[in-house]
Symmetry: C2
Subunit: 127 residues, 2 copies
């Protein structure tokens, strides 16, 4: 399990862990039903408390990405890959709509808006 913690980033450890596991599932580095490291193993590896790992796992289960089984372990949800494209777009449309409304209210010209978007796109990475 390749997880790296930056103690100087200001981002809480449990969130850093969540993000990296989330991406690992998204990128297919972790397969459905695959077992994840035990809270103690990962905690030992990352030099943090097992409860911190448990917290990350708990949130990810709540998102539907993991399954927690007491006494057994943590597994990638069997439906983790079933998040529909349409659903993603729907959520994103709402987010983009808010941003565009803000831009409009500020009177930012379309050309400028496009330039800014391009700038963000350059450093954008997903999948």
């Amino acid at each position: 399990m390749l997880i790296e913690i930056d103690n100087h980033s200001g981002v809480p450890v449990y969130k850093q862990i969540m993000e990296q596991i989330r991406l690992a599932i998204l990128y297919g580095h972790l397969e459905e039903e695959e077992q994840l490291p035990s809270v103690r193993d990962l905690a030992s590896e990352l030099q943090v408390n097992p409860m911190t790992i448990s917290k990350s796992y708990a949130y990810l289960e709540n998102e539907g990405l993991l399954m927690r089984k007491r006494g057994k372990g943590i597994y990638v949800s069997s439906s983790s890959q079933q998040i529909k494209e349409e659903e993603k777009i729907k959520i994103l449309e709402e987010s983009m709509s808010v941003m565009m409304a803000q831009a409009s209210q500020l009177g930012v010209p379309k050309a400028e808006l496009k330039l800014l978007f391009e700038k963000f796109c350059k450093s954008y990475k997903a999948e």
Copy 2:
């Protein structure tokens, strides 16, 4: 000075104040060189500590929107209008950053993101 504080929003008071003053300048409700309420007056009006007001003013001066003059008062910066454009972009960048983070988290491919943006652009009108 019309500033409203929502004590249940979770947003720090000094940030709420900053945002409202920033927008007041941006929208032209406050003119260059105009004097703002003293830290004590505004503190009394909003039922907070004067240092909280001072903190808001300090950050806004740092952004170039205000000038602080010890013993005299707080004034809208004479170059505030020149900073307007930069400020607008700054606000918009924050909004766009949130949207892009959302997209990234959802694993939306860059190409798809661009398509969606184009779609929104077509109906975009800046006042």
